[in-house]
């Protein structure tokens, strides 16, 4: 929603005076640029915008935005942002965190923010590694990952962040990557406009501890064959000539086929607004690694009661029912006696 009162701003207005301290070449820079360039287009005021983060490389993000910001503690950003958004439904609250921050130590807070549908725009920078602690495997790292803490290879099956969000009942779930600014910005724009908890996973390259992790997907030469764009109302097709597509088999599983083999009509048509999340979940499960064609775009965008509005509504309803709270009345609300 564009507020006519909002003065025109440029990228510069949204940049803080703080020196950016990420490693040169880090994917975080491109995400920061995408956000700073997008903000002037969103029709929002800087003073009404708050970035909240936890701990990790991604979590330094708020320091670089000329908005209000809280850089908090590991994993807790969704909980802290929930309180802020409830106390101040007038604000635009963004949460920024990495895969360790939001899916490991903070996994609980993330799923509860999503199930409550708190009005937050949550950006998950997924680099599939711990960066700030210098290179341990993360909850999204592939099995067998050799890192400082797993010299013989990691044993843990990775989380699929999109599936986690869908499982938690998220009403807006999207994925993008740090090599495609327009796509990132489109996902962020839609996420910001969404009333409720909006979750955007962004594949992000850590050029120090996990360099090239997403190369197979995001390198310009690979994108056509490896990224499956999800577009509402359109058949799910990809490839240079859109020669490949996704079908839902009789067994209920999504799989990739040659369009020529099955016919155009067999290709599943994406519907981000389906009330039940089954299709979105199948699409989320289509890829099990960065070496398989992987969907990007909006998996799900549905309406559900937004939490902060409902919570504020209870305050209004309580006041309508019994009038504005009166302290003297409260103190006399139990049986009293006079001496």
């Amino acid at each position: 929603m564009t507020d006519v009162q909002v003065p025109l701003t440029s990228r510069k207005d949204w940049q803080s005076d703080q020196e950016v301290r990420w490693c040169p070449g880090c994917g975080d820079y491109s995400i920061l640029t995408a956000v700073q360039l997008l903000m002037p287009d969103l029709g929002v005021k800087r003073e009404n915008t708050v970035f909240v983060s936890g701990i990790g490389c991604a979590a330094r993000f708020p320091y670089y935005m000329n908005t209000y910001g809280m850089h908090t503690i590991h994993g807790r950003a969704p909980a802290i942002a929930t309180g802020l958004a409830m106390a101040r439904p007038d604000l635009d609250v963004w949460v920024v965190g990495g895969d360790g921050d939001l899916l490991s130590i903070g996994g609980n807070h993330l799923i509860h923010a999503l199930r409550r549908n708190v009005n937050l725009t949550i950006l998950l920078f997924n680099n599939q590694i711990y960066g700030l602690t210098k290179g341990q495997y993360s909850p999204t790292s592939e099995v067998g990952k050799v890192t400082k803490s797993t010299p013989m290879g990691s044993l843990d099956a990775p989380f699929n962040p999109i599936a986690i969000a869908l499982g938690a009942g998220a009403t807006f779930v999207a994925r993008s990557h740090d090599m495609d600014r327009p796509h990132m910005q489109e996902m962020m724009r839609r996420a910001h406009a969404h009333k409720g908890a909006a979750f955007v996973e962004i594949f992000q390259n850590c050029n120090v501890f996990n360099d090239g992790q997403f190369e197979s997907l995001t390198a310009r030469a690979n994108r056509d064959d490896m990224l499956i764009p999800l577009e509402h109302g359109k058949p799910v097709r990809f490839g240079k000539e859109l020669e490949k597509g996704v079908v839902i088999g009789a067994d209920g599983a999504a799989r990739i086929v040659n369009v020529a083999d099955v016919g155009e009509d067999a290709i599943v048509v994406h519907d981000e607004g389906r009330p039940e999340p089954g299709l979105a979940f199948m699409l989320a499960q289509l890829s099990q690694s960065v070496h398989q064609p992987t969907p990007v775009g909006i998996f799900r965008a549905v309406e559900r009661t937004e939490y902060t509005t409902a919570a504020a509504g209870q305050l209004v309803a309580a006041e309508e029912r019994s009038g504005r709270g009166d302290l003297a009345k409260l103190l006399h609300s139990q049986p009293t006696w006079t001496v």
Binding site: K45, E47, I80, T82, L84, W337
Partner: protein, 631 residues
């Protein structure tokens, strides 16, 4: 054993008492807490002074008839000022053999035992672990015994209500309440009104409970329990309007009041935990005061959401017990670093770990004081009585807002659930605790020349930092848990700045000492041979013990701290004024360690960590042995 169950005697006469201590005991499902509360409420309305001690197991419904499933409620009512629920009860109502087995040892010699005789049978003796019949084996020799077939009389009495016989039995606690109300000449209307209101939605149950109460009352009258009718005159109390309040209710009301006095929206982030949950329940009922409550996904989210709300300009609160404080400690340190106001309420219970969830203890003081990583000082305030929780909630909020600091409030299970009459304060006389938010830039950027807001510019006197709320144009800023430069708030790792910030955060908390009353000393202020220094819920028992000892001619002073960090500025002088200092605590000597370290005084710890409060008699013993040992 003196059997008095249906002995004839004069009817209508009653003996006047100056006080009585009654203990109701039964199965967890027998409704003993409710019975005790109603008796208390009627006594409060009658005008007695009183104090209560609910004592119940953690299990919601332990197997019936077992000793570990016994739930008890003790109340002292008096015609004079009292401060605690009494040491030994003089009357025990035992609804079954397990209740007798579990509670009889508390009764004073010669005390009165009222038994629900219907339940005294072999099957229940076995469950309670009695190997012989306690009615016959001499167990009750030292007591007076009244046997009342409560279960069968209740069934009979409620017949006309139409409830099924099995449900009829459930009204037997109201029979017991009716009987005790007759014995102690309590007004009946408040209880009848309460039953009508509480059970009005289910007419059959309401009528059954009314009938059971009346049957119990009538039983007292007709069975002519001679010599067992008593009056306790109303206590002389200061003029005013009173209500009966427990600590958690007072705490919730105090927090609601604080939001009103601060003119701020109030936010409570909390996770259910015994014995603190009732504060969440109560506050969530009062949204019309601008109170937002969140039952968070865990303790960490409870305090996290509150801290987020604080950043947004709410009076932010989190409520919990010891295990929850442990989980919140990282966020408490963040609040110290962010220098945002936050009130953390710890309703202490027995620990460590799950410990004794429904029992009381005061062993979180050193955790409140030191239980965080890094140098993270924070003011600590402790309530000393149920109604005092109201004042303490407001005081904690005042300090938090004025100094931009988290403040920890210590209460405990004993205060939380204990009830006392409360002279309602004049709302107009409550303090204004509103605070100032930054509205204008306080700095000019050296490179751009633009005005900006530096979040760590401080008030020179309080050292409180400038607090600008999101939504304020031109004051955008970032705060975080990384060490920051004083003034600008920019990330800074320089050694001197860190040293400066550590000292500044400590100095800010220390500065609160100039803003609180001096340590209060009562009793023989000028010539005491012993000072009792204490904090928290030990107050009631200490006051009683000190009064009795002074009546015996001993010279004793009592200093009860509300502000524990920082200490009142005169505390060192107070401690050195007296030849001996004794520190009774429901922990292994936390405050004693603190004052020994701070003031190098030879404070002697008197410790009780059993999940139950000190009795006045135990404290008298401690006083006597200390003073006699000194001779």
């Amino acid at each position: 054993m003196t059997d008095v169950d249906t002995r004839s005697g004069t009817s209508g006469g009653s003996t006047s008492l100056d006080h009585v201590v009654i203990r109701f005991a039964g199965d967890s499902g027998d409704g003993m807490q409710l019975t005790g509360e109603r008796f208390t409420s009627a006594s409060a309305i009658f005008g007695n002074d009183l104090a209560t001690f609910p004592d119940f197991p953690a299990e919601i419904r332990a197997p019936t008839g077992t000793v570990f499933g016994v739930s008890a409620f003790q109340v002292q009512i008096a015609d004079h000022d009292i401060t605690n629920p009494g040491d030994a009860p003089s009357v025990l109502i035992a609804m079954n053999p397990a209740a007798l087995k579990s509670e009889l040892h508390r009764l004073e010699p010669g005390g009165l035992v009222i038994l629900n005789i219907d339940e005294f049978e072999q099957r229940l003796y076995d469950k309670a672990g009695y190997t012989a019949d306690p009615l016959e084996d001499g167990t009750l020799d030292a007591f007076q015994v009244v046997k009342v077939p409560m279960t069968s009389l209740t069934k009979e009495g409620v017949k006309e209500s139409g409830v099924k016989p099995r449900d009829a039995e459930r009204s037997k606690n109201f029979f017991a309440l009716g009987l005790i109300s007759w014995m102690y000449t309590r007004p009946v209307d408040p209880t009848l009104d309460w039953i009508r209101e509480r059970f009005g939605k289910n007419e059959m149950v309401m009528n059954a409970n009314l009938m059971a109460f009346k049957a119990g009352h009538a039983y007292g009258e007709t069975a002519e329990l001679a010599g067992h009718r008593f009056t306790i005159k109303p206590a002389e109390q200061s003029a005013g309007v009173y209500t009966s309040i427990n600590g958690n209710m007072a705490m919730a009301w105090g927090l609601i009041a604080a939001g009103q006095l601060a003119k701020l929206p109030t936010f409570l982030g909390s996770y259910p935990i015994t014995p603190a949950s009732d504060i969440l329940h109560e506050m969530s009922k009062h949204k019309s005061f601008g109170v937002t409550t969140l039952q968070a996904e865990d303790e960490i989210a409870g305090i996290g959401s509150a801290l987020g709300a604080a950043f947004g300009g709410s009076l932010a609160i989190t409520t919990t017990s010891g295990p929850g404080v442990a989980l919140k400690s990282e966020t408490m340190s963040l609040a110290v670093s962010l220098e945002l106001p936050l009130v953390i309420i710890d309703i202490q219970r027995g620990g460590p770990s799950t410990g004794l969830p429904t029992k009381t203890e005061a062993a979180d003081l050193l955790m409140a004081m030191y239980g965080r990583h890094g140098e993270a000082p924070m003011p600590i305030i402790a309530a000393y009585s149920p109604s005092n929780c109201f004042d303490v909630a407001i005081e904690a909020s005042r300090i938090a807002l004025k100094y931009r600091t988290p403040v920890i409030v210590l209460s405990d299970g004993y205060l939380a659930n204990g009830t006392e009459p409360w002279l309602l304060p004049d709302v107009a006389a409550l303090p204004d605790i509103s605070t100032q938010f930054a509205t204008e830039p306080n700095h000019v950027n050296e490179t751009t020349g633009e005005p900006e807001h530096w979040p760590y510019v401080r008030d020179p006197k309080t050292l409180a930092r400038s607090w600008a709320l999101p939504g304020t144009p031109g004051l955008m800023h970032r705060i975080g848990g990384i060490e920051k430069e004083d003034g600008s708030g920019n990330i800074s790792y320089t050694p001197d700045n860190h040293g400066h910030m550590v000292e500044t955060r400590a100095a800010k908390v220390a500065a609160v000492a100039d803003d609180i009353p001096p340590a209060p000393v009562t009793g023989d202020v000028d010539d005491a041979e012993l000072l009792i220094l204490a904090w928290g819920s030990t107050w009631g028992a200490i006051v009683t013990a000190v009064d009795r000892q002074r009546a015996k001619g001993r010279k004793i002073a009592h200093c009860h701290l509300t502000h524990i960090n920082p200490f009142p500025s005169n505390l060192g002088e107070v401690l050195r004024r007296y030849p001996r200092v004794m520190v009774p605590e429901m922990n292994s000597g936390h405050l004693a360690k603190m004052v020994r370290a701070e003031f190098l005084v030879d404070a002697k710890s008197v410790s009780k960590v059993k999940g139950v409060p000190f009795t006045a008699a135990e404290l008298e013993d401690a006083i006597e042995s200390m003073l006699e040992g000194a001779k």
